[in-house]
Symmetry: C3
Subunit: 308 residues, 3 copies
């Protein structure tokens, strides 16, 4: 598998993940521990963000730096500050930036399909760092790597994806990726109004992936290896009634910790707010800060594969 643009998590093959990507990510962790390398020396990255994201932008820019490459241009709110405010299309912005000779463009766009549109006019590889309610494929890669690293395997696990599944793009991208591994069981836990959308469920059915939908995390928590909690996304229009239900049935607190398997883990794309009680942070099964750190190593690996 030759990687150029990174648009959606479906594009990654299981063989590539297991034989190339995971081993390289482990190697990247060692490189980060040693303080970096210069394998991407002379390579130039542009980060073009139309929507705020400290975590994603920071991890990409620092990944590039740790490998000896340079971030030659960075903007953190292109929607508001760039020529987009004067009416320029995404395609034209990408065309022009290509003229400035980047080796890679990391793009966060605020509408679904932005990354795909960018690839249609870009010579330089585009990495989708999230496009509205669409996908966030590098998040899915770091999520998958975290499961592999924490549990030692992906095939055969049982995972509960929890919360506002209708609007969260991370659970969508992760569902696509998990379907490539055998015997994965998925519980979708959410209030009725925030259920996982039909397209993903149809996709899982076609690939014969076992899944069930439930409303109350506590009912099934003792069976799962991974709780993948998501944030109630005020900024994408979650209703307050729904949020109350999520709070009652989906929150992770001491009660849930008591019901969890000893070897299970809690993941979250972060930032986390009310959906995880603060006492949970100290439990060793809370894997979300380690998961965020894996974002650095997976992005280093991705950059090395694309640019080297």
């Amino acid at each position: 598998m030759k990687l150029h643009h990174v648009v959606k998590s479906q594009q990654f093959e299981r063989k590539w993940l297991e034989r190339e990507f995971f081993p390289l990510t482990r190697e990247m962790e060692k490189i980060a521990n040693k303080g970096g390398s210069d394998i991407l020396s002379g390579k130039r990255m542009i980060t073009l963000f139309y929507e705020p994201s400290t975590r994603t932008r920071a991890s990409f820019e620092i990944a590039m730096n740790l490998l000896g490459g340079k971030v030659v241009f960075s903007t953190e709110n292109a929607r508001q500050f760039s020529s987009a405010a004067k009416g320029e299309s995404l395609e034209d912005t990408i065309r022009i930036l290509n003229g400035y000779r980047p080796d890679v463009i990391v793009l966060r766009y605020d509408e679904e399909g932005g990354a795909k549109r960018a690839t249609e006019v870009s010579r330089a590889p585009i990495i989708n760092a999230g496009d509205g309610t669409g996908q966030h494929p590098t998040q899915a890669l770091l999520d998958l790597y975290t499961i592999q690293k924490e549990l030692g395997k992906i095939a055969g696990i049982t995972i509960a994806m929890v919360g506002d599944l209708a609007r969260g793009r991370t659970v969508r991208s992760l569902s696509y990726l998990l379907s490539k591994f055998s015997d994965v069981k998925i519980y979708f836990i959410s209030p009725e109004m925030a259920k996982m959308k039909k397209d993903i469920k149809d996709y899982l059915r076609r690939r014969k992936v076992w899944f069930k939908e439930r409303h109350d995390l506590r009912e099934i928590v003792s069976k799962v290896d991974v709780i993948y909690q998501t944030r109630t996304q005020k900024e994408r229009g979650a209703l307050s009634k729904e949020r109350e239900k999520i709070k009652s049935f989906c929150i992770i607190n001491r009660n849930v910790l008591n019901l969890m398997k000893k070897g299970a883990i809690i993941m979250h794309p972060l930032p986390h707010v009310e959906e995880i009680a603060s006492e949970v942070d100290l439990d060793p099964r809370a894997a979300y800060f380690r998961q965020a750190e894996n974002g650095l190593y997976t992005r280093m690996a991705l950059l090395k594969i694309i640019l080297n």
Copy 2:
């Protein structure tokens, strides 16, 4: 001609343009093709933008990077975020930044005369990257270089500057520069309310440059070598009535393409919106993306001249 501050396009001499600047810009294109050089190694740039501009800021910062220099501080909306919000004058900001030892300050200011004011207190060279409705001299340089590169000459050409000529600073700066070349003919095409201002026309008359004012692009398009289209600038207060007229008489679409000379080119400072129909992008005479790319090479050349 020794270059220190770059404030307005009048300051560039024809001889310097033809013998020094254009050849160096061609050389810079080769350096960019080879992935850069280190001739500005150890040099430090500050980019201080009081107004948004993806394109200009990106091309300056990447130009600096390609020559081995560093952007040591960059702000993309100084008006809103810097000490300007606390009432600091531009002069004081420039004085203080000088204390931080930059080798060059690239300044975009939101009021005419900002660059000139900055030069009066700055040891470090100031490059005017646009000052309100004033000038944008590096845009004029890249425009001129584009004409030279695309048509092989500047003297003797006929150019139509089209659209909101009253508010566009690029056409003002370009008019000054073109007046230095012999036998250039200029058509100013705009609605009555958006006509080129008197100061430029007086300047051209004094230098005996041939120019005429017209309302309808289609009348004269078959005679010109260059159509320089401009954007209707909503943010500088163009009226909607005027915009309608510009749309009727100044738009470039398939009809205009059919009337154009075979060897003519269409330029635009970009971003382009409604004033160029999308079908035009695919015509080889649409030179505006190549023009934007020339912005990188001309800014590399300028930085090399100023800093080396």
Copy 3:
């Protein structure tokens, strides 16, 4: 004294200041004059600003650059643009950024106590670059260095701190530091409503530092070696009535210049607005632009001590 986190000015010992910090700062000035060094090569800084500050952010980032280190991630309005907008706590942001392996995090926070909270979860050293109405210890260091450099001594001087003393954090931090030197005399000059807060005055009394409170700068200006003027902080809620009083009794203008000692200096954390008349800038005793420049050298010194 081993330095890790920099949170408040009280933490600096007099001996460390005189024997280590001041000499190193002088050395840093020489390094800046020579165009930099590479003693921090391979070191990575994150600048995380929740509040605007051109001057402070620029001087930290350029200091890092001049010593050969890299700014690997920078955000200038984290409050508005980062995951803070999605409800993430400062502690979580700091935890996650630590996972990205910075060698130092420069933090400006918009609430008192932010820097302290950050240190509680950060492996990487935190440098407090201002926390709301709390402290701004690196400003205090540069202020102190300026006094030492301009007057040749700190012990025994008489200083007038002038203006809105209730809200200015620089005068608070500087008071703490000055109390470590013998025979310093302090006048606090302000309207009744903007008086220095009780905690600082109690601290000075406990340390037996001589101080007096006055309303009118002109009464005592002939006795002081340093006038430390401060800005009327509109954004922290200074009342207009108070501002009028400050304008009448605290302004520095030609009258005040005439009353000042020949060898005295005027300092100001900048930006300065109405509280210093423009004619003062040209007087050689106006030390505030030199003071701002010292910010570069003191921050270089601090980074070297912490990172090397």
